[in-house]
Subunit: 188 residues, 2 copies
């Protein structure tokens, strides 16, 4: 089951067949079509999701309806509303599919159980959390030091795959610039 996920885990930890079977028992599958929501603002968030296939966006919507993309997630990435997920507060983000997607779902409860039962899994999640933190720091630093053009160039360099799969206006939203500005950057 879900050999992709096993391979993904094994980039950081080694697992016997039995161990992987144990992990697999905690996962459920969810399939969503393009435009379907995984999480909507106000939801209770009890799961984190690993993307087996597809592409999603997590975004905040302000009072005027303008969207701000906090995260994309494609194959092998985790996604959820992490502000809501462990704390049992309501979601402030929306997450929906930019492509038909297939997800592995891990409940908060099961994640903690797994981490508790299997030291290796806790190790895996620590490493993932650290890596995520570092990536986010890089993005933060890019916001502090770079103008729109440099941020865009860094994005292209860092996530060329996303650029090909996503409309530019969403890239603009991720970069914190208007789509018009992004368009003018392209024109140069």
């Amino acid at each position: 089951m879900h050999e992709e996920f096993r391979r993904h885990l094994e980039e950081l930890i080694e697992l016997t067949d039995d161990e992987y079977t144990h992990v697999g028992a905690y996962l459920t599958v969810k399939k969503l079509k393009k435009h379907q929501f995984l999480i909507q603002e106000g939801d209770t968030v009890n799961h984190t999701y690993w993307v087996k296939k597809g592409l999603l966006k997590a975004y905040f919507t302000d009072e005027k309806g303008k969207e701000f993309i906090l995260q994309f997630a494609m194959e092998n990435w985790w996604i959820s509303d992490y502000q809501a997920y462990p704390n049992q507060t309501k979601a402030i983000l929306n997450i929906d599919c930019l492509e038909d997607s297939e997800l592995l779902c891990l409940s908060s409860e099961n994640r903690e159980k797994l981490c508790d039962e299997m030291h290796k899994i806790e190790h895996y999640f620590r490493k993932k959390a650290n890596a995520g933190f570092v990536e986010l720091q890089k993005r933060m630093l890019s916001f502090l030091t770079n103008n729109a053009k440099n941020r865009y160039e860094l994005f292209i360099q860092t996530y060329p795959q996303i650029l090909l799969r996503v409309p530019k206006k969403l890239i603009a939203s991720y970069l914190g610039v208007s789509r018009e500005t992004l368009s003018r950057l392209n024109a140069e």
Copy 2:
């Protein structure tokens, strides 16, 4: 030794005296005066630091010498150049003291050993990494959705202690605005 650190750990995990002694054996102490550097750009970064007392800033310096503050760290916070720390690449950040400071130092090697030997410690670091990620996401979202004024207000609300201990020009740098702009926000 370092009862503050023990108390800090015990906010997330329980430790026996023996266990804590074991942890403590991996730590060293460093005392620095105001203005002294903990890490300088180009250094090899082998440690992460827990602030027992004092206040530091981690910042990037651009080619014109302008500083951009990525992180403050006060009592009970961890600080390092995390892009450099686990990867053995050279530091791109500077970290120096805004006040006389006392730090507990944990080497990368010892951190991994501790995490390996004591499941609880790995659990602690997973929780910390997750919490750090969530905080950084909040800051990111603030950059995407808020103008200078709203970011400043959120900062005041979130970190009132830092506001009292740090010159405003550094707050401006953390918020990604010029000190003049921040001053004008104050005037309103």
